[in-house]
Amino acid sequence: MSAIIAIIRRDLLLAMRRKSEVLTALFFFIIVVSLFPLGIGPETALLRKIAPGILWVAALLATMLGLSRLFAPDHADGTLEQMVLSPTPLGLLITGKIVAHWLTTGLPLVLLAPVLGIQFDLDTGALGILVIALLLGTPLLSLIGAIGAALTLGVRGGGVLLSLLVLPLYVPTLIFGAGAMEAHIAGLGAGGHLSLLAALLALAVFFAPWATTAALRIALE
């Protein structure tokens, strides 16, 4: 456990030193979301309808941005090989890295999303659902994305390839995440969507670090 915390602390410290990376993803999210009303028009009824989809797709793309740097710097300076050799199980260390990735890219999105939601004329209830859905969904994005990041580690054209591998796997998260808000706006209640999202998260917490670890071992062979 202490090993996980040490890894998280280390990655957060590194992220603090390279603030620009974190901020780039965050501003990317803000700009993409703000561009849509400019492209579509300021009609509030329409904006309210498309808000869930836009916020979620933008969140998906924003988490993708940092993903290729999840393991690459550690791979370059040999830290990753040290991790493989360390007595602590690699799976735990990788889980720590994924948590740190979520804290630096996912959590800021969760905190920022309601502010952007106001741009789309969403009411307080919908904003609440948005935050809860993102809180469940963004860790899922980090977990699934980590598998892709590990598979494309050190591979030619890794960045583009990563999005090709990971984005189709993000579809269920997108559907249930955006669906939760839509269901709430339509007055159907978001409970079903949110519990499915939670179930997916539980499944991913169980399997994703394992698959990521296996992929990393292959990459380091």
């Binding site: 598979l151 030619r156 090709l164 189709p168 796997l169 559907i175 669906g179 997916l200 296996a214």
Partner: protein, 254 residues
């Protein structure tokens, strides 16, 4: 004693060296079966199956659409099974089989999308409808493309095999989730739509036609995958003794 002997016998064929000639012997048989089934299937498609009361002649597309869609899903599962086998037992052949199957699966997925669109235009009035089946077929196509792209990007074949295997296994876990989520999304947004398969009276001839066409597609897939795996074996084992001793390499006409 006897049992272990059998296992060794099976593993013999798991080596590329002994699988290469075996595949060579099997390929013509699968081509022949594919041709026979395709002949019967096409005859049923165009001559035995009567005109549909509601869909006219346009429904004949389903005789290739449904087999292509089935094969695209089935091949993905077989590919993942080979991949898993390769990871578990570390056999060289498994990765090559997975690699050989992927393009065929992608083509089947593409064909199911293409024929679905051509069926949808006259029936739904649109080339593309965000129907649950079509949407998950599209995502399956993306998964195939991702698998092929990942393997193409990695130079070391052993690493490509293993990385592809993990991706295929992650994909196979996700395929049902994706299908379920798309279906859920679909019912939320537009209610149940007309389905290709939901012909109210599926006549026995139609069922037979679809079944035989599926067999044709199945035999075709095996034949083409075996043909491709032979090429892959030669590429990967180019510098081994047994490849150099092959009759077709020596230039001796067999």
């Amino acid at each position: 004693m006897n049992n272990s002997h059998k296992i060794i016998h099976w593993f013999k064929y798991a080596s590329p060296q002994s699988f290469y000639p075996l595949a060579g012997k099997l390929i013509p048989w699968f081509w022949a079966l594919a041709a026979v089934f395709a002949g019967i299937g096409l005859w049923i498609t165009f001559f035995a199956a009567p005109t549909d009361a509601q869909q006219g002649e346009g429904y004949r597309i389903i005789f290739i659409h449904v087999p292509a869609a089935w094969m695209s899903m089935f091949i993905y599962m077989v590919m993942a099974a080979w991949a898993g086998l390769g990871l578990a037992l570390n056999t060289r052949l498994s990765g090559m089989m997975a690699q050989a199957l992927a393009p065929t699966g992608a083509i089947m997925a593409f064909l199911s999308l293409w024929t679905g669109a051509l069926w949808g235009k006259p029936m739904w009035g649109a080339w593309w409808v965000w129907d649950a089946r079509l949407t998950s077929a599209l995502i399956l196509f993306f998964l195939y493309i991702g698998f092929i792209a990942l393997q193409a990007a990695i130079d070391d074949p052993r690493r490509a095999d293993k990385a592809g295997a993990i991706l295929a296994l992650v994909g196979v876990v996700n395929v049902p989730i994706i299908y379920f989520s798309v279906k859920w999304w679909n019912t939320l947004h537009q209610g149940a739509s007309v389905s290709l398969m939901k012909a109210p009276t599926m006549a026995a001839t139609m069922l037979w036609g679809m079944l035989i066409m599926s067999l044709a597609f199945w035999m075709y897939s095996i034949a083409v995958a075996l043909t491709r795996v032979r090429a892959i074996i030669l590429e990967r084992e180019a510098h081994t003794e047994w490849v150099k001793e092959l009759a077709e390499v020596k230039g001796v006409t067999p």
